[in-house]
């Protein structure tokens, strides 16, 4: 329950904070949520990772569908993703997940009992 709530809250906070701030503010969102809702380091990491994986993956996937893959196809050739729209979405999701996960992990350690 705590886990699901954390994930949802991280998604929500990340989305809102990115309306106003740069992309790296997702780390702040994941950190703050993990400070407020304390979990074990592993669970915290997974919370941040899954939340941002879903948010960045979901958003880019949705944008890509609506765009009918026009841009993702072109850019996957500029970036080294060999024409694969899926790879563009996948890498986007992983990058978001890693940053979110690490930030949440740091937060978990920050509140860990001695």
């Amino acid at each position: 329950m705590k886990f699901i709530a954390s994930v949802l809250l991280t998604i929500l906070m990340s989305f809102v904070i990115c309306l106003y701030m740069d992309w790296w503010s997702i780390a702040i969102a994941a950190f703050v949520v993990a400070i407020c809702i304390h979990q074990t380091p592993l669970k915290s990491f997974l919370t941040g990772f899954i939340a941002l994986l879903l948010l960045w993956g979901g958003l880019s996937w949705w944008i890509d569908i609506k765009n009918e893959h026009v841009l993702s196809h072109r850019l996957s050739l500029v970036l080294p993703f060999g024409g694969s729209s899926f790879l563009m979405v996948f890498v986007t999701a992983i990058i978001g997940g890693l940053v979110g996960g690490c930030a949440a992990l740091a937060a978990s350690y920050a509140r860990e009992k001695k």
Partner: protein, 816 residues
């Protein structure tokens, strides 16, 4: 323990952000680019996008509505002219901001600022930025800007346009930046009227920057006068000039005489022997165009039809942006230049207008003698004259600035000197005198053309066109058709400026300008049509020297076709514009066939020779004949010229027509002999040798699946960054050099337009691009397939009461 874990994970987070969000480690800030709410995903436009919007800007004087049709062509209905130009600036920026800024950065010599001093193998700083600055692009733009801003109409036009561009830029945040800014990692700066002036100078460079002064001088050093005249003739035999041969011209208003020293100092063939610098950038020699107008006697409707297709480098985003502008004062439709206000090629409710390039030589070089290495004084009319210095401050991405000090003389900027030699210039210094350095106000021409009602208005409008000189075609609903070879051109003595001139006194300077009224022109000629395709404007009866190089075959075939045509419909004109008949091959093939001995051919060679023999002379997509011809002609040129030309350093290329006309006149054309062999080669030897050498290339092309003309020619339209992923490659389109459909590898008809001036205008057009410059939009390249297939769109001149028409897809309202 906890502190350590915390520190490590915090460090990992920050390290990830730096790794993925900057260019310190990776070549691009991957996370910044991929962040769905900021980066490139934001440029992925939904296929179902709705551009409709309510916008308000305090600068607007009234209300305006913009209706976008299904091709995303905006139809602007504004209360007043100022608002129309503001909206045009806003729309250009909304759909084309990056290219506008990139092109004007290029013109200003500022690409190092955004690309760095090197990009791949290109030396951006030395080959591009310093070259444009030393050519005086900024100097020229500043002078023209003064004139543009001194005129109330063009000042209003440019101020409103600039405000519109800036209104759009001000509304942008990072996520809305055009894709290219994100990929290259910089941000747009404010637009200025100077940038519009720079863009006009960029067009002047592209269209009036063509000359061969260094190449011809190098040739002069090696060739005899007779040989030079044979390779670079003043008038090709197959010329059908813009103004028909036999036309009489008045006595010249400006008399010019060659300086007394010309024979010894200028026409000094085989004398001088220096290695000359080569210009780093030359405008594409194929920059040209077709335009023509037929009068009502030749059309089915009884009204004139005007056609134009400017041949330019083909890029994405396109050079052109199509639109309609309607105000209480005028109603113009056509293509505009993102970066400049007004409609450039198009029509209004009364008339239509278009241009082809004049190809005249308006850029000459003078050898300057500096007093010493400081370059602070130069010899001029027997005394040391002080130099003006212009300091060019070039910013370079991630590097310290580069300062270039350019010396200015009475002739113009010293483009090549010891500080910037291109190649070794043996310590010599060359100043460039370029017509584009003179102040002029070309924007006024478009201001007036867009609202021209008749021939006199058109004539008044084009008088503002000084550089680049253009053949301006005109047709009106009242039945008039006209052509003016317009520009402000120096009056030159014969061959003045074909070679580099002495610059130690005033005797070799341009002696005056040809009076505008004496520019070649015609109004309503008896033959019922006017046309131009970059050929020489007149026969030798015209009292001034033209200079420049002029392709003659397109003009020849166009005139031949037009003179035979009757009962013309717009469809006939579209068929003519997209015609792939190769008239150059028609003239050349008989000579080639005559000089082939088929007995010397093996089976493979015979196969290709038969293809060539039976070829229908059309450079259509599926033909193999044009490949054989193109390679054979190239091979023959090599056989004939390479021995003589190899001694000339610096990229000298004889005209294609020189060889053909040389052998048509006399098959014992002296150059067919290879001067490096003891025996005497004949034309037959050369043709057979050339053909045997190209067969392996023909077999290889066929084996690689490039055995058809379109696949062999491989037309492509590349993004301005040259990124293949943002380009359209391998387009199946015919045509080529000397063909009316002048589509080459990356160059060709950049806008095809046919306007029938019936009471209700019927117009058709297409350009190889799309209205939206964003590679993430479906409107990015949406016209390319139609263009490739020779299809046109009907151009909808929307009326104010047609707002409910089903063609209207989106509506933008502009309010105060």
């Amino acid at each position: 323990m906890r502190i350590i874990h915390f520190s490590i994970s915090l460090f990992a987070t920050i390290a990830l952000i730096i790794l993925l969000g900057t260019k310190l480690v990776l070549p691009a800030p991957l996370a910044e680019l991929l962040s769905p709410q900021h980066g490139v995903w934001q440029n992925a436009e939904p296929a179902t996008i709705n551009y409709s919007a309510e916008l308000s800007f305090p600068r607007l004087k009234g209300k305006a509505d913009v209706y976008f049709d299904e091709r995303l062509v905006p139809h602007v209905f504004a209360d007043n002219d100022e608002d129309a130009f503001f909206i045009q600036g806003y729309l250009h920026a909304k759909f084309r901001l990056w290219q506008m800024e990139f092109e004007t950065h290029a013109a200003a010599g500022r690409l190092s600022e955004i690309l760095g001093d090197k990009m791949g193998t290109t030396d951006v700083l030395n080959k591009v930025d310093r070259y444009f600055r030393r050519l005086g692009m900024g100097y020229a733009a500043e002078k023209s800007l003064q004139m543009m801003e001194a005129d109330t109409a063009t000042k209003m036009m440019c101020d409103s346009y600039t405000a519109g561009v800036n209104a759009y830029i001000a509304s942008l945040n990072y996520s809305q930046l055009p894709l290219e800014y994100k990929l290259l990692g910089y941000k747009p700066e404010a637009w200025t009227n100077l940038k519009t002036a720079l863009f006009i100078k960029y067009m002047a460079f592209d269209l009036a920057g063509g000359e061969n002064d260094f190449e011809f001088t190098a040739a002069k050093n090696i060739l005899s006068k007779i040989d030079f005249e044979a390779i670079v003739p003043l008038r090709p035999d197959s010329l059908d000039p813009i103004i028909p041969a036999g036309t009489l011209f008045d006595k010249p208003g400006v008399a010019v005489t060659a300086p007394a020293s010309a024979d010894s100092l200028y026409f000094n063939f085989r004398k001088d022997n220096v290695v000359l610098p080569v210009e780093p950038i030359k405008p594409n020699k194929d920059n040209g165009s077709n335009n023509w107008a037929v009068n009502g006697k030749k059309t089915r409707s009884g009204y004139p039809i005007l056609c134009n297709d400017p041949h330019l480098g083909l890029n994405l985003p396109s050079l052109w942006y199509e639109m309609q502008i309607h105000t209480p004062h005028y109603n113009a439709y056509g293509v505009s230049f993102p970066a400049a206000p007004g409609i450039i090629i198009g029509f209004n409710d009364s008339c239509a207008f278009g241009v082809t390039n004049a190809e005249r030589d308006v850029r000459d070089y003078y050898t300057i003698q500096f007093k010493d290495a400081s370059r602070s004084a130069y010899l001029y009319n027997g005394e040391w004259r002080p130099t003006d210095f212009r300091i060019e401050h070039i910013k370079i991405k991630d590097k310290p600035d580069f300062i270039d000090t350019v010396a200015y003389t009475v002739f113009g900027p010293v483009i090549f000197d010891t500080a910037y030699t291109g190649r070794s210039s043996a310590g010599k210094s060359y100043a460039v005198r370029w017509k584009a350095h003179d102040a002029s106000n070309e924007m006024k021409m478009f201001y007036q053309l867009d609202r021209a009602k008749n021939y006199n208005d058109y004539l008044e409008a084009i008088k503002n066109l000084h550089t680049p000189g253009q053949n301006c075609v005109f047709a009106a609903k009242n039945g008039d058709i006209a052509m003016w070879c317009q520009g402000e051109f120096p009056a030159k003595w014969k061959r003045q400026g074909d070679f580099i001139m002495p610059g130690t006194d005033s005797s070799y300077m341009w002696q005056g300008m040809i009076p505008q009224a004496e520019n070649p022109h015609m109004l309503n000629p008896e033959r019922g049509f006017v046309s131009s395709a970059n050929q020489l404007p007149t026969d030798t009866s015209y009292p001034y020297y033209f200079g420049g190089s002029f392709p003659n075959y397109r003009g020849w075939i166009i005139n031949k076709r037009l003179s035979k045509m009757a009962d013309i419909t717009p469809q006939d004109m579209m068929d003519l514009q997209t015609d792939n008949y190769n008239v150059f091959a028609e003239m050349a093939r008989p000579v080639l066939l005559q000089h082939m001995n088929e007995a010397v051919l093996n089976a493979d060679e015979k196969k290709y020779w038969d293809i060539f023999k039976e070829w229908n002379l059309r450079s259509d997509t599926g033909e193999t004949g044009p490949i054989v011809f193109a390679l054979l002609w190239e091979g023959l040129e090599k056989e004939v010229w390479s021995d003589e030309i190899a001694r000339i350093k610096g990229g000298f290329v004889p005209y294609q027509s020189s060889l053909l006309e040389g052998v048509l006149r006399d098959s014992a054309f002296k150059f067919v002999d290879n001067i490096n062999t003891p025996q005497k080669e004949t034309l037959s030897d050369d043709v057979q040798a050339a053909f045997k050498k190209i067969v392996p290339a023909l077999k290889k092309a066929e084996a690689a699946g490039r055995g058809s003309w379109a696949a062999f020619k491989d037309t492509h339209i590349t993004h301005l960054t040259k990124l293949p992923a943002l380009s359209r490659l391998h387009l199946a389109i015919g045509g080529g050099t000397h063909i009316i459909n002048a589509t080459k590898e990356d160059h060709g008809p950049s806008w095809r337009m046919v306007v029938s001036l019936t009471p209700e205008t019927q117009a058709y057009g297409v350009y190889p691009g799309g209205q939206n410059g964003n590679p993430g939009s479906k409107y990015y390249d949406s016209f390319i397939d139609s263009w490739t297939n020779g299809k046109y769109y009907p151009l909808w001149v929307m009326k104010q009461n047609e707002t409910a028409d089903k063609r209207v897809k989106f509506k933008m309202n502009f309010n105060q």
